[in-house]
Amino acid sequence: MALLGRRKPGFTTTEAVDPRTLSDAVNEDNIVTPCPAAEQAAGQPPVEEPLPANMAQALAQFVRNHSRGGYLVSLAQLSREDPNVPTLYEQMTSDPACGDIRSYKTAKDTYLYEEGIMSELYLMLNALALDGDDVNTIVTLVRYNSKVFPTVTPLDYFFRTPFSMTQEQVDAAVETILATGGELADIAETQAPSGNRYLYSTDHLTPVYAKSLAEFAEAND
């Protein structure tokens, strides 16, 4: 690569390097930094995870593995894949060895997770994302942010994981929300000077305040 990056052809010359002339940095002989922990571990027998005693505990382990990766387990989806899951779930809830498994209920589903791994906020976000109701997701979080911080919510908030909505999804949901009225009438839109769109709840923020918070949210100096 040229000193200052890629140039048009002919701008720089390319030097061919024979990989055999490069030092073997990963050759053990070349590793000069001792690692006591690795040396100590080298002499130890491998650690074996105990197998679950029954299928309910296997389900619990499945939930734990997902939680540690930042995922909830949808009981509805799992039950569709394996009809035994509802029974196993009942057994799991009464098994003391599965006492760390908790459930998060929404109107659409029950989600399983390991206690102490995910924050309450992330449980809520994850469950909303898995429910897949874009309108409810946006309304819930706009109200939450307006009340708790208090702040306005940028539309690109919903592009982020775990929602990963597309622009089209967000636009469609926002259009629905703003046109619905009734129980969604508290959701309003404001814009920053950049033209970027924000939503807020009039239950918690006035229009004047919301507009100023949108400006505040975008300052980038």
């Binding site: 690569m1 000193l3 200052l4 990056g5 890629r6 140039r7 048009k8 701008f11 930042g70 791994i117 995910m118 924050s119 309450e120 906020l121 992330y122 976000l125 994850n126 942010n145 708790v148 911080f149 208090p150 702040t151 306005v152 919510t153 940028p154 690109d156 908030y157 592009f159 982020r160 994981t161 775990p162 990963s164 006035t206 004047v208 305040y209 507009k211 100023s212 918070l213 400006e215 505040f216 949210a217 975008e218 300052a219 980038n220 100096d221």
Partner: protein, 720 residues
Amino acid sequence: MSVQNGINGWAGTVLRVNLTTGSVTREDTLPKYKPYIGGMGIGYKVIWDEVPLDTEPFSEEAKVVFSVGPLTGSGVPCSGRTTITLLSNWSRGKSIVDAHMGGHIAHSIKYAGYDAIIIEGKASKPVYLKIEDDKVSLEDASHVWGTGTFNTNKVLSAECGAEFDVASIGPAGENLVSMSCMITSFGNSGGAGVGGALGAKNLKAIAIRGTGAVKIADPVEHKNLCDYMIRDLVGGNNNHNVPSRPQSWAEYTSTVKNRWQGGPGVMWGAAPDGAIDTGEQPSGQIAVAAYRATKGVFDYGDVVQQYIVKSGGCASCPVRCYSEYNVDILAEYDLPTLVSNTCVPAGSGPTSFYLKDAMHDFKDEGDSKIVLGLHGAYVMDDLGLWENYNNLGREFAWCLKNGVFEKMLPKEEFDSIPWHLMEEGDPRWLDDIMGRIARKEGEISRIGEGSYFFYKAWGLDDASKNEWGVNMYDMIGGNNNVTYNGYPKHHSSEDGWQSGLLYNVMYNRDCMVHVLTNFVRSGSPFNEVIKPVLESYFGEGCVDAPKAYTPINENKVKLAKWCFLQKQWQDSATLCDWMYPMTLSSSPARKYVGDIDLDAKYMTAVTGEEWTMDDILFSAERISNMLRGITAISFKIHENMDNLRKTHDAVPAWVFDKDPDVPAFSEGTDKMDREDWEKSLTMFYEAMGWNVDTGIPTRETLEKFDLGDMADKLEELGLI
């Protein structure tokens, strides 16, 4: 070197280089400079003792002081700063200013055995200063004179050796442009006119290598503190403590655009061996801290991810606020594609040189700021041009938008400018227009004199003197001037109510204080985190919610004074003022409570002496009073002004008159109230021990800090 000298923390030696005579002398740092800590404190002491304040800043008689502090190079996180102290050539009063340079050169200064390098005199021809531990020499620089900083740093590194750190000035400094800086590493700059001050001395660069170390009194405690800080306190850049992307462990997600942009799905898309997902970055995990800032996304949005090579930063920094990029689009213009910078110089600064309508997408929607911003940052750095926290850009933008150049430039000059490049949104426009400023070519280059003198030259500081009927200081919109002295706000009342405005008006350049913005924009909720944590330090009512301010009170003044003193401490220690103090924590287990005593713990571990924050802030208050006393004397000498309150500290009208439909102290505005502001100033002066009518330190205050000689001078001039 300090280890050999047996001194903990400090290197022990101040180096003095006289460019006129070529003499190199050394003096002990201690005990003389200990009351001033290091860095800024040493710089202020040297200027006060040795440089008459009527000295022309760009002259042989002026001095420039490079200095580091007892924590620099000790391994304390975020201690890679160099403070450069000089007299301003560009702001009203021509008083004392400092530049603050990151990169890696601070460590090299320290490891070479020096706490400060005093540059004095003027070389008869272009030279560079070469330092390798105790070997100090002046070397011919004629072969790099006239070339950019990147070439200079590369050539001198090749000449001296790859282990040398180099900082150099560019054409702007050589041509004595006031808006000039010096550049080290890959775009780390020290501004405030340093380039011109060194150019006036024919000093092109400093190349330095140190093979020593910093002696630490209690290395075990030091290591424990460093781990504790990164594990339990540090968040992203500016120590923003809540991620902006949902993470499974995080109790909050920021909806404010903050400086913790890394997270699941946020990529370093141009990493050499394939894209890297910055992933989850839980508080408590030291190894992932450097993924958090991913600052490019803050500066440019998600579209920039494809160009990010990695997060770079200064020596001893686990935060990494300098994203490095490979913007291959620039190759189509035969321009360098490997670029790096951060914040204003890389974004709104360069793009201010285009009309908004002229900017266009290159490959993806919204990528013009990336292409133009990063190339502009490269050009400015290479020219050694300083943007005065984008006053330069704002002024250019205003002139461009309002047809000022057409009226003010001679026709021949106006017609010689390739405006079509600007109109086409071509990045090469920046090479041309910034080059004219850096080379002082034509009337347009007066913008490089800095706001104060530029406004005067074109009559833009008086509505009756220009056909646009504006006073650039007072106008609402497109104006960030925080005083009438020629520099903008730097996170002022818009972030920090009266407290922010108070410390913004104390300096002779943009204040570069980030203490308040670090928690106000942290992404934390106000009522659950920010308010309780800050009130636990400073008492009830010290902090306001964004855009919902309340009248001044004692605790806001207490907070303002603390922030003001912190700045002097950080630049003396030297610690990064984007990160310190550790007001908040990223740790849910700590309830987000930071550790504002951490600095003292570091000082104790490193020096082996018992330091408290009271000790630290006492020394910082001494330096603060030096700033104020020197400013008062400069204003008297250069402007015949004897009241800082009515002159230096005067705040432009827009701060009070913006948002005309929203009253001050109501939700929806950050505007200030004039009567309340006057009360704020009075309370702040009282807290500092300054005369409330003039804003000048009293003799009693100065003598408390052993600054009786300064009181004598102020008295001699009739200022106290």
